[in-house]
């Protein structure tokens, strides 16, 4: 499925704004992303499995907080950073 990568994480994807990843759940997709782009998951998800502050993941335009959320191949995932502050 298609995954949109925000600019702060494109150093991991060699600049790509859109990559392909696979998985039956959001957690699986994040694991696949980390396999393809080592280190990217830890910048988004902490060691306790919590999504980091200022980080949001949207599936088909809807914010998803449950990493066990099932996914279908046609789903589109957007990783978004709530850029704020100075």
């Amino acid at each position: 499925m298609k995954v949109l990568i925000p600019t702060p994480l494109r150093s991991y994807t060699d600049g790509a704004r859109e990559v392909a990843a696979h998985g039956a759940t959001l957690a699986d997709v994040l694991a696949d992303l980390d396999h393809q782009f080592p280190g990217i998951r830890f910048r988004m998800i902490d060691e306790q499995g919590r999504t980091r502050p200022h980080m949001r993941i949207f599936v088909n335009g809807v914010a998803v907080f449950d990493l066990d959320r099932p996914l279908a191949d046609r789903d589109e995932i957007a990783i978004v950073q709530a850029l704020s502050g100075g």
């Binding site: 280190g39 830890f42 910048r43 988004m44 200022h54 502050g85």
Partner: protein, 398 residues
């Protein structure tokens, strides 16, 4: 690189000399970590002219940038951003190329929601000279980690991260410094790799003699804010602890409640800051020790009155030096602004090189980098307009 040519100044006082000890010579390398990236400053052999290399990691928060003194070429950068999780970047060619740690410092996963997550790595310390490639890291919230592979992968170290007493002493984010409670000042006895110290803001100073298998508080003689229990490590706030390179039995400490010295095997800190001028006080963040003279140390006082402005007292910045272990202090402000300079210098943002005479360096939260090539007798600004400076380290490249 952009050449910078500061104006030479004349020393106001003669620097301390100690020809019996080995001193570095040649160019100096200063590593500057800021809230928005890192910069490297290289001097000529006289430490008169400086060239800047940077920014590295523009926009990333760099809490600490440290060169491995064992190989003189490996740099570790403790990094995060306002939006991404923390990581460690490594370079084995003095910053020409960087790679990311494969496993940055992270707490062990917890079975319930009580598990902590590293917000950022705050402090980096190379392990003992006999442990090449090994490093310690201190984090916010307080955690102690170790790498065995040059900073590529990290694992929790010691029992303290999950020990019930230590967790209580660490407090919560509510109890820590404004940008998070920190474990810092990781010190390794050059005579014994199993003899370690670290400090926590808050949580006090702690010592291990068994390679980190166990730690114990080392608090006797230290003061806490009035009204709190001095016997409880929770209420102790060491800002910066340093070990004298030529006398590892001597520690100096800049604390939230004064400046102290401890001579081992004694266990009682002595408040040497009592000898500071009353109108200046003995509150501050950094403390720097002389590389060859255990009687000499420098501080950079901050205003600790009323609401704690934590700025240079009276708007007149100065370093203070003691050359007799804290019996007396001398003001060192030649070249610094004489009025209306409300600087803050953070605990990692002042350091000494190992040259003869010793060079001193500090960075301000307003983005100025200052240097002295004569042990603080005179100062000059070598960089302006940097982001908020978090850490300044002097390094000796191979």
């Amino acid at each position: 690189m952009t050449p910078l040519t500061p104006t030479p100044t004349t020393p106001a006082t003669a620097p301390h000399t100690s020809p019996e000890r080995h001193a570095a010579a040649g160019p100096a390398l200063i590593l500057v970590a800021t809230r928005k990236g890192a910069w490297l400053y290289r001097s000529d052999a006289q430490r008169q002219e400086w060239e800047v290399d940077g920014p590295h990691f523009l926009g990333h928060i760099i809490n600490h940038l440290v060169l491995d003194p064992r190989d003189g070429r490996t740099l570790l950068a403790a990094a995060s951003t306002g939006h991404l999780g923390p990581t460690i970047f490594r370079s084995t060619d003095l910053g020409k190329r960087w790679s990311e740690a494969t496993r940055p410092p992270a707490f062990a996963p917890a079975a319930d929601a009580s598990g902590r997550a590293v917000n950022h790595t705050f402090w980096l310390t190379p392990c003992h000279a006999d442990e090449p490639g090994a490093w310690y890291a201190g984090t916010s919230p307080q955690g102690l980690f170790r790498s065995e592979d040059g900073g590529a992968s990290w694992a929790p170290f010691s029992c303290i991260n999950d020990d019930a007493d230590y967790r209580r002493w660490m407090g919560t984010v509510q109890d820590g410094t404004p940008d998070g409670p920190k474990l810092h000042s990781i010190l390794v006895d050059p005579r014994d790799p199993a003899h370690l110290y670290f400090a926590m803001s808050g949580g006090g100073v702690h010592e291990s003699r068994d390679g980190g298998r166990s730690f114990a508080p080392l608090l006797k003689g230290l003061e806490v804010v009035e009204g709190f229990d001095v016997s409880d490590p929770t209420f102790h706030d060491p800002h910066c602890v340093r070990m004298c390179p030529t006398n590892p039995d001597r520690l100096y400490q800049q604390n939230h409640c004064g400046i102290y010295r401890l001579d081992r095997p004694g266990d009682t800190w002595v408040r040497i800051g009592r000898a500071m001028p009353a109108e200046v006080g003995d509150i501050g963040f950094p403390l720097v020790v002389h590389p060859r003279d255990a009687d000499t140390a420098w501080v950079f006082p901050m205003d600790g009155q009323s609401v704690w402005p934590r700025t240079s007292p009276d708007g007149r910045p100065a370093a203070y030096v003691t050359r007799d272990g804290g019996e007396r202090w001398q003001r060192l402000d030649d070249g610094l602004p004489t009025q209306q300079a409300w600087w803050t210098v953070k605990r990692q943002a002042m350091c000494a090189d190992t040259h003869e005479p010793v060079g001193l360096y500090f960075g301000t939260t307003s983005g100025e980098l200052w240097a002295s090539a004569d042990e603080g007798a005179s100062w000059r600004c070598i960089a302006r307009h940097l982001p908020e400076i978090y850490a300044v380290e002097a390094a000796l490249p191979a």
